[in-house]
């Protein structure tokens, strides 16, 4: 029970999909202009993560990892198919998204309409594939925990897109310098929000080892992120990325 709670909070706040690992940025930036649509996309992400992470956990356990095929017979015990995980995971995700879309359209047209284009978009949201790959990399031991991980990292992403959508609605009336309007300012906001979320970085780092090293590295990482973002935003200016995706 305790590990469930710990994993839950950890994946919402500490390993937040957006602010800690910067995944799923494309839809996070593109669909965060209004709170209502952000909520729709966020809900869809939670749902899809909750379905695909446990499914991929099963795939990983019984098909992909080293020795996973032992249940077929002893002669298969030393196969290691983990090089296939990218293809299989993405296939699962795409299939699941299609399936969910069909089912939702059939049984709940209202929900289908409110989710609209977001559902198919999610198939290519890297936070979804990231969820499955993190699940594999972190060796999440049970199906229940995998389900928990899927839901909670979805909630983390949901919170992030909700917060930025509200902020973007708020700054709509701000006098942002013209070159920064649109994506530029959004990148900066994301960086600043990342600082806010740093408050959870290094939290619950266990009782045994002093987190001194990890502490500084995470701090440095934020700085790097800031720098990268600043550079990105400068690049954006020079190629006028803002013009490509204008509000």
């Amino acid at each position: 029970m305790l590990e469930h709670i710990e994993l839950f909070f950890k994946s919402i706040f500490i390993d937040n999909m957006v602010f800690a690992v910067f995944l799923g940025m494309c839809s996070y930036l593109a669909v965060s202009k209004k709170v209502a649509t952000a909520v729709g996309l966020g809900a869809a992400v939670i749902f899809v993560l909750a379905v695909t992470v446990p499914l991929n956990w099963l795939l990983d356990q019984y098909l992909l990892r080293d020795g996973a095929l032992a249940w077929l017979g002893p002669e298969y015990a030393d196969y290691n198919l983990s090089f296939l995980s990218f293809i299989l995971f993405i296939a699962t995700i795409a299939t699941m998204v299609q399936l969910v879309e069909i089912v939702v359209e059939k049984f709940s047209p209202a929900l289908y309409n409110s989710l609209g284009i977001f559902l198919p978009l999610i198939a290519v949201n890297c936070a979804i594939l990231g969820g499955s790959l993190f699940m594999q990399a972190r060796d999440i031991p049970t199906l229940g925990l995998a389900l928990n991980y899927g839901i909670s990292s979805g909630i983390g992403w949901f919170l992030a897109i909700l917060a930025i959508a509200a902020i973007r609605e708020k700054i709509r009336y701000s006098n942002v310098p013209a070159p920064l309007r649109g994506l530029g300012i959004t990148f900066i906001i994301t960086g600043l929000m990342g600082i806010g979320f740093q408050s959870f970085g290094g939290m619950l780092t266990g009782d045994n080892d002093p987190p001194e090293g990890t502490e500084t590295t995470t701090a440095e990482k934020t700085e790097e992120k800031e720098l990268i973002e600043k550079e990105m935003e400068e690049d954006g200016k020079s190629v006028s990325y803002n013009d490509i995706i204008k509000e």
Binding site: I195, S199, F200, E223
Partner: protein
Amino acid sequence: MHELKLKYQGKKMAPAFNAFHTFLYTPNETTHPGGTHVKGADDLKRTMNTVITALIPILLFSFYNAGYQHYSAINGFPENFSVMEHFITWDNFWLGFITVIPLVVVSYGVGLLVEFIFAVIKGHEVEEGYLVTGMLVPLIVPVDTPLWMLAVAVVFGVVIGKEVFGGTGMNILNPALTIRAFLFFAYPTWMSGDKVWVHGAKEGVTQAGSADAISGETILGYLAQNNEAAVASKFSISDMFFGFIPGSVGETSTFLILIGGLFLIFSKIASWRIMVSAVIGALVMGLIFNGVVDAGWIPDYSKFYGLMQFDFWKHLIVGGLAFGIVYMATDPVTGSQTTRGKWIYGFFIGFISVMIRVFNPGYPEGVFLAILLMNVFAPTIDHYVVRGNVKRRMKRLKNAVILPKDSDSKAEELKVETV
């Protein structure tokens, strides 16, 4: 002054001049002719000046405290502490003065320079927002912060934290806290530990009678190391309350912060709702942790034990919690703007501050991060509060009975009965 202003109107440096001009004098502009306008005397500059007035006692206290901590660390803490004899002395004041004033000067100098540059380029008036930020910044950094670090952080905070959003009143995060967070994450080895809180510790000034370099750990630092004995032997509760403890420049004296807070509430500058709910939040979280310790769920060798068993109300008088709640959380720009939102916002600030203090061994001081985090979520809270209000009114409207127009000319307007 007013004539001078007219003379230079429209020139390039006019904004820079006007900034000095209106700093002390009320501008002579009146409202537009035609129609009735009410013009309050408390414009933005007056508001800012009020907050600064509330901060001045704290600044003066910090001079004495900086000196007191320095000399105490060298000579040992006085046996029979008396305020007049050991605290308010010329030596203390002078040492504090020469260590703290440079921080203030750099903060204002660099920050206002950036503001002036932006104002001149953009051709608008210099905005007053930096007045308070510039005063807050020196008060929330450790005494021995190198001035160049402060300057870099101030530039970052003002440009990225505020000017890119269009200046005062548009920013998302509190600029002073952005500056503090920048310092903290950019120079983590300098900004934490036990060396930076007392003047001279970093340069290896040695203790009288021994070869050890002096050091001054904050109370939270001691507690994070499970060293309750040191806290109990060194600092009494009244020390904590009146602020004779090491810590960031201006955050130590809860007593003066309380006075400043009351002043802000009575002058209606700051929101009492945020302050009260933040205090409640901190107390609730502290009580939960104390409950966990009392129930014996946590072993006393655990890393979190020291801070968890710390009495819940003491959280308010150590570290920067009080300062953060009174001067930073109540920032009208970055905080929640709706009444109900303020309660939620404040509560979470207190709650998360204490939670970070206890659970995050890397950051014994979580207040500024908690406020930043809630700054991020304040628009979300506001959005849902407003949505909720809209929904409630829609419901009321649906249930409302609109009476048909009276044929009498007297009751022309519609009567709406709400259910």
